[in-house]
Amino acid sequence: MYGNDFAPPEDGPGGGLLGEVEAAEAALREAAARARRGGPAGDEDLEAYFAGVVDADQKIEPRDWMPEAYRKTLIRQIAQHAHSEIIGMQPEGNWISRAPSLKRKAILLAKVQDEAGHGLYLYAAAETLGVSRDELVELLLNGRQKYSSIFNYPTLTWADVGAIGWLVDGAAIVNQVPLCRCSYGPYARAMIRVCKEESFHQRQGYEILHTLAHGTPGQKAMAQDAVDRWWYPSLAMFGPPDGDSTHSAQSMAWKIKRFSNDELRQRFVDMCVQQAEILGLTLPDPDLRWNEQRQSYDYTQPDYDELLRVIKGNGPCNRQRMEHRRRAHDEGAWVREAAAAYAAKQNSRERVAA
């Protein structure tokens, strides 16, 4: 592991969520250890068998029968998650060349590299459902599949790197920790690995903001400005409010999703309030207050019309992000072709030699 060469702040975030990831990992091992039924009995229908495995909190594996809609939902969700990791490299990659110390440069480079790794595990998880990475990349490039809208916002200052780590990676973890218990085995296992790394990212982001918030007045202002700009887009990462969410109910029944958008958003808000206090930064919501009855914070909803506009392609950076990805893909074509041609030549040489 590169770049985690600093002691995390005593009161830093991530501990509780990391604990949940570990619990999910233990549950996964237990589920694997419980004698799994070897397959449907002769007279049992496949659908009933599938439902039984899901109900028993066992994992569906690639070889198992699954409803076509379950497969499609998973492909779409895992692919969009993979695309998000790959596109998400851009906003933070934007600061690698200007990172203000060599230590920060190393940590950031390693972080962006981790995101590429997350993209790879996720594409590999999607491939177990019978679709190829190339097909999925094509769906990203031609705009038929989306990535998380959060990456359509620009990183304008160094503090944005901190805010992304703290808030965006933080929201991603809150979203993803329940996915560590997803009914589809390869996705659950990929999520465990991803969540562990995301929790490092969140700590690193928090650490950046902590340093800035306790630095010069200019640094503190930079940190506050970044939190002001990233707070509501981060809340919007949990998706539309429950009433308007189209995929939720079925995904819940299949145990792909385990909590509603609004439940996860609330969890995230509750987690951030105390951390913001320790940072000495203000969350830009004058109506944020503890609700004794609900044992949660009341907060202002993000602007869902804005979310919709960004999803539709009209955020500040949608065009830039896609153009960047298409250009990298197009400019790399001759290299990929060369690698394929070379491999084919090597194969035929080996065959001749054999």
């Binding site: 060349s97 480079l109 590299q113 630095g215 400019e331 690698a339």
Partner: protein, 240 residues
Amino acid sequence: MSTLDFTLALGDDALIAAQRLGEWTSRAPEMEEDIALANIALDQLGAARLLLTYAGELEGAGRDEDALAYLRDDREFRNCLLVELPNGDFGVTMAKLFFLAAYQLPLYTALAGCADERLAAIGAKARKESAYHLDHAALWVRRLGDGTEESHRRMQDAVDQVWPYTHELFTPAPTAPVDPATLRADFDAQVRDVLDQATLTRPADGWTPGGGRDGLHTEHLSYLLAEMQVLHRAHPGARW
């Protein structure tokens, strides 16, 4: 060449190489390559930090790795010109990396056995990394050289373009902890083998640009530093 100048030169080579490789992040021809280039950039950056920290100690003026990286101007940098050249296409980047690694591997190997304990420890760590960089770059030189017609043409162009900058690496420095002139035979053998396998031609020697070790750089370095240093310099004395 004093131990300080030598350490600074190696540290600057690694730092500027890392900066250029970092520019590839999210732009590589395939996702696996994005990860590989970031790995190599991280290795170079790691070596740069160790070398610059030690250079600061040798200098004894209280400068740490960041003071040396962020607060010197281009005329004070001691890196070779090869590493500051723009990335170009992927072929040019691989030509640069291949020549750099074919130099750094015997250099760090010799350093691992030198009398200066700090430098020996850095050499011992870095040579393992250089061996991987060399493997990686050599594989791409072969793939591109012996791939398609287009890749062959591009790779030969890249080698032709970068080759003149390799001579500077071996400028004799008999008093340095490792005299770079002693590394030339190793380098030449490595280059000959890989270019042969890649069906590429070693360019003829002629023009031999240099000056980096004396702080006389190409026009590119000042732009690279402007970008690298801008934020650090905008907040004098701040901690990050």
